[in-house]
């Protein structure tokens, strides 16, 4: 056991072939691409098997002394170790492939592996190996970014929830003795919000009525009544530029008035309108009074006619 610990300390999490004479040969598997290449070469018989075995041995065996003394080793040491390397570098047949795949499926069930797949989906530039090399804090930040991106794009319908995950924590979570106070949002100050709203830049609000002059906003019967509406609008607004129309009709040069002049004229018109309204209201009251007097007179006559004679 101590020897295994020593080997682990020396070479890390690798494989070791323990030969019958007690010799330990540490090695790492071939990358998938190289495995496939060597598998083809072994099968083709293009090169003597021993040559290819020596190549694989030199690539994968981690003890440099053994590699440098490869010619002094017993012939079977290299062949046995390379056989194990090939066995553990990839599937030799379909049955072995299925077996490896099933084993990997169990591994892939771990939530962290799912998260790595999630980040790779959100940021395809990342390779899984890049993420496996990250520290936990950076990795979790990338997961959060990936989650937000996938939510925004609609790939994720809701944020990640791990509460119903099958994976249980490996260590029991120690509950704090006092509950941690979660920050509550401050109450909304409506008066302040209203003031802030008022201090905002003024906005121009254009209602449908304001843009009635544009044909595109006409709907339904307005399209049919377009001519009548336009005529009415011209009639209603004619008094505002009546003087201009008179100048044009008389053939004289149109004199554009200043805003102040137009404002003074508008005030005059306003006063004229007010006096006209007052006069109209007085006339209306007078007419109403006369009508009432007339009605009262008629009622008096009717009573006189209907009064019975005393015997």
């Amino acid at each position: 056991m101590e020897e295994r610990l020593l080997l682990r300390e020396l070479y890390g999490p690798v494989y070791v072939s323990v030969l019958p004479d007690g010799q330990r040969v540490p090695w790492k598997p071939l990358p998938v691409g190289e495995f496939l290449s060597y598998q083809d070469q072994f099968a083709s018989g293009q090169y003597p098997t021993a040559f290819l075995e020596n190549e694989v041995f030199k690539k994968c065996v981690l003890n440099p002394v053994l590699v440098s003394q490869i010619n002094e080793l017993l012939a079977g040491v290299v062949s046995t170790v390379v056989f194990s390397i090939m066995e553990n570098s990839g599937p030799s047949d379909l049955t072995r492939l299925e077996e490896l795949l099933n084993r990997s499926r169990v591994k892939a069930n771990v939530v962290l592996h799912d998260m790595i797949a999630l980040v790779c989906q959100a940021f395809p530039a990342y390779k899984p190996e890049d993420l496996y090399n990250m520290d936990a804090e950076t990795f979790m930040f990338r997961v959060a970014l990936a989650e937000r991106k996938l939510l925004n794009t609609g790939i994720l319908k809701e944020p990640l929830s791990l509460s119903d995950s099958k994976q249980k924590p490996t260590r029991p979570v120690q509950q704090p003795s006092t509950p941690i106070a979660t920050p509550t949002p401050p109450p909304v100050n409506l008066a302040k919000a209203h003031r802030e709203q008022q201090h905002k830049e003024p906005q121009t609000i254009i209602s449908a009525a304001d843009i009635r002059e544009h044909e595109v906003v006409y709907t339904g019967h307005e399209k049919e009544d377009k001519i009548v509406l336009e005529h009415q609008m011209v009639k209603d607004t004619a008094k505002f530029y009546e003087d201009y129309m008179q100048q044009i009709q008389s053939g004289t040069k149109v004199q554009i008035k200043t805003p102040e002049e137009r404002k003074a004229e508008a005030l005059v018109r306003s006063e004229q309108n007010r006096q006209a309204n007052v006069k109209r209201a007085k006339q209306s009251q007078l007419d109403e009074k006369q009508e009432l007097e007339r009605l009262a007179k008629m009622r008096k006559i009717q009573r006189t006619v209907k009064k019975p004679h005393k015997r």
């Binding site: 999490p13 690798v14 019958p20 021993a50 079977g76 066995e87």
Partner: protein, 151 residues
């Protein structure tokens, strides 16, 4: 290990022999040389020591009292050279040819009845080839897989 392989006797180094059997501790190479002295052309103690220096390990095995062989396990360089020779051969090389090449390359001495056995007994060469290969750490793939430990 096959029954044939069990009959294989490794000529032990002096230190190991001294710990294991004090009664034969005088000199293992001398013991083997004495045992083989009855055969004409048998290796002397010095010859055995020289072979041990050259090949690391030397084995003595036999299929009968008089059919005796001394041989060394095949080394990697020798095995690679042998494969290169086979691959470059103009004629087709069978498994039996390959076995013969290995045995011829590794046998250091054979008694006269032993040499005759190669011709007269069909299995002698193959059995000796198996002994050589198994003592050169060639093994069954299932056994090789069992020897692997993941740290």
């Amino acid at each position: 290990m096959s029954p044939v392989a069990e009959e294989t006797a490794k000529v032990p180094s002096e230190e190991v022999a001294a710990e294991a059997a004090p009664e034969v501790a005088k000199d293992p190479s001398q013991v083997v040389a004495d045992a083989l002295s009855a055969f004409p052309g048998a290796p002397s103690r010095d010859q055995i020591e020289a072979w041990k220096q050259q090949f690391g390990e030397v084995f003595c095995s036999g299929f009968a009292e008089t059919e005796l062989y001394m041989w060394h396990p095949i080394g990697r360089a020798e095995f690679v050279a042998l494969q290169a020779q086979i691959s470059q051969s103009q004629t087709q090389v069978t498994n039996l040819d390959a076995e013969a090449l290995v045995v011829n390359g590794c046998v250091l001495w054979a008694s006269e009845p032993g040499k005759s056995a190669f011709k007269q007994k069909a299995g002698s060469l193959t059995a000796l080839h198996e002994q050589i290969m198994s003592n050169s750490n060639f093994m069954d793939p299932r056994l090789a897989t069992a020897l692997v430990v993941k740290l």
